[in-house]
Amino acid sequence: MSLTLLQVIAGGLLLGAVYALFSSGLTLVWGMMNIVNFAHGDFVMLGMYVAFVVYTLFGAGPWLGAPLAVLVLATLGVVVYFGLIRGIMKGPMLAQILGTFGLALLLRYSVFWWFGANFLSLPENLVGGTFDFLGLRIQASRLLAGTVALLVTLGLHFLLTRTSLGSKMLAVAEDSTAAQLMGIRPDTMQAIAWAIAAGATGLAGALIATFFYIVPTVGETLAIVAFVTVSLGGFGSVPGALVAGLLIGVIESLSAYLIGAVYKDMVVYTLFLGFLWFRPQGLMGKT
């Protein structure tokens, strides 16, 4: 196998890990309350802007930007839950779709109004630049994002399956009336779920900002990938999103290199549709 091909695969895996990272929040919200958050891409975008503001004000990299982005986005998550989601969850499906879509536009154009339309970027060497590893070029910023993606996925999985908080959240997701009878407050649990999901998304944004451009509409570009990742992995499954993210990353990179960049989406979506034909619940989704 040629070195270039190895480079393509390594790049694909790192890209896939990043896809997984910004998809975990989306899948969590779906798993917890059957809501598709159309503002998800714009949460990522906000995380990126937090990282950018932290860099401009303090000259600090993601070690400060990422925790702050988690904090800001988690707070926003709670506010959005109480201000919007709790209300529209009682409404019809269409209200949920339009509600979160409206939120997406509000966030996007607020940032647009405040920061302007200009493309922004963090310096290339903010996270250790690029290094050679066995002849492969590895970008430290992507490696960091990939590692964090793994940790976040494992952490969320652990939280949901091994802790009492996770059990309570799952109980609410399963049957909120029954959970309430057991003394669990559905409101609190769902607000926590939103805080965690939005926080993870903010973290993703802050890390992606170290190697991607920052612009108010960047959420549009990223959200499509997030939706594909989540539905391939199985809506609601955090490990599923990781596996799906890695798969999509590698398939995209390989097809862009071997067949041609213009066909890579075609390859990914054909495989995606073919897969859903046989397994509509996704890789690890519940039937």
Partner: protein, 417 residues
């Protein structure tokens, strides 16, 4: 009874006042529509163009004797229409051909504009100008380069910018000159998106080079707004072309430069085709890792006190950014349109169309470095031309070719970072 009559009189009087009032104000302002991507992924280009048009309105609507013989600057308003002010109604095409069409329709039917300028992306200009054609409203474009726009037999479409075939000629002549000075230019790769603009420029450049006996060695098309371009860059890295021609809008342009740096790939020569690589926010974001990129341009600031320097100064004061080629070409089109309306001495679209056809502007009446503005029967400016600029220091482009207009000599190979 008496009360009713007084009321009736009052009503009649107010209707009369409103009617004459609006007629009076119609005489005093000329409404022009401007369809640009004010939101969406090309919003940075749209915002810059909007600012440039507002600067142009300032120049036209107020007296600016310091501009000398520059058309429309000396006195306030359009002299041909008794000093009428120009008013611009903006429409946001969001970078989408469908929205561009709807916004043009709105400007024509709701806002009753007398002419339209726009719409940045060739794909959007294609649909927007078709609406104007249907309604018989002049559409003046300053920045879309896809060749087919002026091949549709339209009667109301006028284009001021150099187009794909002019660009191909500039590239070919530049590379021939470079080759003569000992630079290797044998294998050329074209990397382009699959939009109207990307495909058109790539096709025209490819066939123009082929005609001259130099086939393009590598053609890499890709879908716009990519999340990742490693595959493309690795393909280039493996095939090692001497020259890489990049045809990309801003987001992809930034991603290409970032990825080239990450994968430690420097083509010996990069020629960028304007658009993304001319965006001031591109230079701010990745200029420092793109040192030595060549680009085409028709804009140059010129000596202090010249109209171009004054425009550059007003624009910088308004936006904080330097004037770039794409924005300048759009602004030039707006001046050409206003000049035609001024000469038409009327807001009748047919008279404006006739005035546009009769346009004959000389280089010293232009802000862009064209040889003039004169439209052929297809509506294309036959005197449009351009030069090659280079991002030598990573901060601002300087003219490097042809020698006559060059401020510096080209630096090779591509330095990158």
């Amino acid at each position: 009874m008496k009360f009713k009559r007084i009321l009736g009189l009052l009503c009649a009087a107010s209707i009369f006042l409103v009617a004459t009032g609006s007629a009076w104000s119609q005489e005093k302002t000329v409404k022009i529509g401007a369809v640009f991507p004010l939101s969406g992924n090309a919003a940075t280009a749209g915002a810059h163009t909007k600012a440039a048009i507002e600067v142009a309105m300032d120049i036209i609507n107020n007296a600016h004797p310091e501009f000398g013989n520059f058309p429309l600057a000396k006195n306030a308003g359009l002299a041909g229409l008794g000093g009428a002010k120009v008013e611009v109604v903006f429409g946001d095409n969001q970078g989408s051909p469908a929205t561009g069409q709807n916004q043009t329709l709105r400007l024509i039917t709701e806002d009753k504009v007398v002419a339209i300028t726009g719409a940045y992306q060739s794909g959007v200009t294609l649909t927007a100008s078709a609406v104007a054609e249907k309604y018989g409203i002049p559409f003046v474009n300053g920045e879309s380069v896809a060749a087919n726009l002026t091949e549709r037999g339209f009667k109301w479409f006028f284009r001021v910018t150099p187009i794909a075939s002019d660009i191909a000629r500039i590239y070919y002549e530049f590379l021939t000159d470079m080759k003569a000075s000992g630079v290797k230019t044998d294998s050329i790769a074209i990397i382009h998106d699959t939009t109207e603009y990307g495909v058109s420029v790539a096709n025209v450049v490819t066939s123009a080079f082929k005609e001259k006996g130099q086939p393009i060695a590598l053609d890499i098309p890709y879908a716009i707004n990519a999340t990742d371009v490693q595959g493309q860059v690795l393909q280039l890295k493996e095939k090692k072309p001497d020259v890489a021609i990049m045809i990309a809008y801003t987001p992809d342009a930034i991603l290409y430069q970032k990825t080239m740096q990450a994968l430690d790939y420097k083509p010996p020569m990069i020629i960028a085709d304007d658009s993304g690589y001319s965006d001031p926010s591109f230079i701010k974001a990745v200029g420092k890792i793109s040192q030595g990129v060549f680009n085409r341009s028709s804009w140059s600031v010129g000596p202090a006190g010249s109209p171009t320097a004054l425009i550059a100064e007003m624009y910088k004061k308004k936006t904080g950014d330097d004037m770039d080629d794409t924005t300048g070409r759009a602004m030039q089109a707006f001046f050409v349109l206003c000049d035609a309306i001024d000469r038409a001495g009327s807001t009748d679209p047919a008279k404006i169309q006739a005035a546009l056809r009769a346009t004959d502007l000389k280089p010293d009446q232009l802000m862009m470095g064209y040889k003039g503005v004169k439209f052929d029967e297809k509506g294309q400016n036959i005197l449009a031309s351009g030069l090659i600029i280079q991002l030598q220091d990573g901060e601002s482009y300087v003219a490097v070719w042809p020698k006559a207009g060059a401020a510096k000599t080209p630096i090779l190979p591509y330095k990158g970072w």
